[in-house]
């Protein structure tokens, strides 16, 4: 059963891989015709940093989407964690790890709250997480009076901008997160339960799965990944900023959906999300390198998402049905 599941995923991602190939070919053509070099190592280094932070947030979002939810509080969790971390680290190297741990606990608590609202009170995910997001922003502004806070310690800054063997430190952090979440989704019972719950909650509950606990944990994972991104962004920018997470809510959803996660639940993979992020970032970076206005990035992101959803919806109905059923089987296996 597991083999056939992996087979389906590879088939589902074939289109995405072709898209990445086409994009890289386009980047080559642009290089030879205009001289704009996407492949320059220093440029790849920059893209890798942005990619790492966006993808960590998007992997958290993917987990929630697989379980049938959606998390719109990601951006505010990132901004609040960023301000929280900078305030309590206050520029001290020794406080980097303990405060990072506390920030992750904060993210987990926000996720717990979101998950509880969605499961125990049956509040639609969209409304629950939007509400949390507004509360977080208000609380942060009340706490800080809107003033930038704290100081980033040098070791966090090194993590954010430094490299190891020519590869950005942030990329290794991303790899670790991606491997752990991927293993959780594919090799652990929790992953199987999550796909089952996302596909059909009633059936999952009938098969003895604790639906509430499974969904709540997905929000906790998403909250923690967003909080982690808040810390990493502090290292990258070397400062705290009240609006540092702006855009990450929709970008993380966009990347997950582009990578094959279906709004409504039951499908989505870490691999797909990674490819989704690559597509979005290659496109937006190329547009900047070619001197298009930054606003064009919004057009590109929007167009890519609409195109991805359109192609997804245009699939024959029989195939959609099959993908919807298989995860339930996974849940029982």
């Amino acid at each position: 059963m597991a083999d056939s599941r992996i087979g389906t995923r590879v088939r589902n991602q074939r289109g995405l891989l072709i898209a990445v190939g086409a994009l890289l070919a386009a980047a080559l053509i642009i290089l030879f015709t205009t001289g704009v070099n996407f492949f320059k190592p220093t440029n790849l280094l920059n893209v890798a940093r942005t990619f790492s932070m966006l993808t960590i947030a998007a992997i958290g979002q993917t987990v929630v989407i697989i379980g049938g939810g959606l998390d719109l509080s990601v951006a505010e969790v990132i901004s609040t964690s960023n301000v929280f971390a900078a305030t309590f680290m206050a520029g001290h190297n020794a406080l980097f790890l303990p405060v990072t741990f506390l920030t992750l606990v904060f993210g987990a608590l926000v996720g717990l709250f979101n998950g509880a609202l969605v499961t125990k009170r049956n509040v639609p995910a969209f409304v629950a997480t939007l509400g949390t997001s507004i509360v977080l922003r208000g609380a942060r502004l009340m706490w800080t009076q809107g003033l930038p806070q704290g100081k980033i310690p040098p070791n966090l800054n090194t993590l954010g901008v430094g490299t190891l063997l020519g590869i950005p430190n942030l990329f290794f952090v991303f790899l670790a997160v991606a491997v752990v979440i991927s293993l959780v989704l594919t090799r652990m019972g929790y992953g199987r339960r999550l796909y089952a719950v996302g596909t059909n909650r009633s059936v999952a509950a009938l098969s003895g799965i604790s639906v509430d606990r499974t969904v709540i944990l997905s929000y906790v994972l998403c909250g923690m990944s967003a909080a982690f991104v808040g810390v990493l962004l502090g290292g990258y920018a070397n400062m705290s900023d009240q609006k540092i997470g702006e855009g990450y809510d929709l970008d993380s959803i966009a990347v997950a959906v582009l990578g094959g996660a279906a709004i409504g639940g039951g499908s989505g993979t870490v691999g797909g999300t990674i490819i989704g992020a690559v597509i979005i970032l290659v496109l937006t970076n190329l547009s900047l390198l070619m001197g298009f206005p930054i606003q064009s990035q919004m057009v590109i992101k929007g167009a890519v998402i609409v195109l991805a959803l359109w192609l997804n919806a245009a699939r024959p109905s029989g195939r959609r049905k099959r993908t919807a059923v298989s995860p339930v089987v996974n849940g029982r296996s």
């Binding site: 900023d241 900047l288 070619m290």
Partner: protein, 337 residues
């Protein structure tokens, strides 16, 4: 009987409508007052350190005038609808003059006009507004802001070089005016080549990632025109991390930016977006209350800070979010950052 009741009701209704019409003024100011003055300040919000300095300068100016008996300050949290209610509240408190820093200028015009019609002097500061029904508008020339920065950069590069431009928010009047002023000047220097212009939303992380892409796209960048230190500072960090030469930049009076310039021994130009506008608004309000002549438009004269002044004014030990040159006031008024 019924007819006479109707008649009485009609007369009362007409009288009810007419009395407030007579009572409301026609823009004429109330009689001059020399002492026991009450001033209301409807502030747009307190969302950043610049706004904190704005209020600090307001309070410091108020303290210089013993004739001011009472001051009321409201905070609209950037919401025009709250500012409308705030202005009504201040009117109820019978202020002798109202000072307004608008949230969205055009959204609060009715409130401004209402105050003016009641004969209460109303001073608006910080930006333009689409009404003549106000006592005085105190502002800073934002075209000149961009012009002065561009002129310094062009002269610094001796009229020749490749530059990139970083602006605030697309469509925002402040950002667009600064940009228009700068472009106007750069046109007069044919040797200055503008490689790229991008909007960075006055967001340091965004400015940094945009600058990183510009660094990749352009092997030679000789100067950076940024309309704020919030963007030239991260842009310089990006250059430093990429191992590229640190070039002349422009920005505003943000301490974080000027600290970076001083620490790296760099040449830069800081043109202040002054927080002293609020103090000037207090002066104009007092003139109006005392019956002195007040100009309809008051432009504050600004002088930019070159490298020498920057090294004198920068506060290496204070917060990155301090505003240099705007802190000439007793310590008790300064924001705690």
């Amino acid at each position: 009987m019924r007819r006479s009741i109707r008649l009485i009701v009609a007369v009362l209704l007409v009288a009810g409508l007419a009395i407030p019409a007579f009572a409301s003024g026609t823009g004429e100011k109330a009689g001059p007052k020399k002492d026991g003055i009450v001033i209301g300040f409807s502030n747009a919000g307190m969302g950043d350190s610049w706004r904190q300095f704005l209020v600090a300068n307001f309070n410091a100016e108020v303290a210089r005038h013993p004739e001011i008996k009472q001051v009321y300050i409201t905070n609209a949290d950037e919401k025009p609808e709250k500012q409308l209610a705030d202005i009504d509240d201040l009117l109820v408190k019978k202020v002798d003059a109202l000072i307004v820093y608008p949230t969205v200028a055009d959204a609060i015009i009715p409130a401004i006009e209402k105050v003016y019609d009641k004969g209460v002097p109303v001073i608006v500061f910080g930006g333009t507004i689409g009404t003549e029904k106000l006592t005085s508008l105190v502002l800073q020339d934002l075209l000149e802001f961009g012009r002065a920065q561009a002129k310094w950069l062009a002269e610094e590069l001796k009229g020749k070089g490749k530059i990139v431009m970083l602006s605030g928010i697309a469509g925002n009047t402040t950002a667009e005016d600064r940009l228009a002023g700068a472009r106007e000047v750069f046109k007069q220097y044919p040797g200055i080549q503008i490689l790229d212009h991008q909007y960075c939303d006055w967001s340091p992380p965004k400015a940094k990632s945009i600058m990183e892409a510009m660094i990749q796209a352009f092997p030679e960048i000789d100067g950076i025109w940024a309309d704020s230190g919030l963007m030239s500072w991260p842009a310089l960090q990006a250059l430093k991390e990429a191992g590229r030469p640190l070039v002349p930049t422009t920005g505003d009076q943000l301490n974080g930016y000027t600290k970076f310039l001083v620490a790296n021994n760099l040449r830069g130009y800081a043109y202040p977006m002054t927080t002293q506008l609020s103090g000037e608004a207090v002066k104009q309000a007092l003139k109006a209350v005392k019956g002195e002549k007040v100009d309809k438009k008051v432009f504050i004269k600004i002088t930019g800070y070159g490298p020498d002044q920057i090294s004198k004014l920068t506060k290496p030990d204070l917060s990155d979010w301090w505003w240099i040159g705007d802190d000439a006031m007793p310590a008790s008024f300064l924001p705690k950052l």
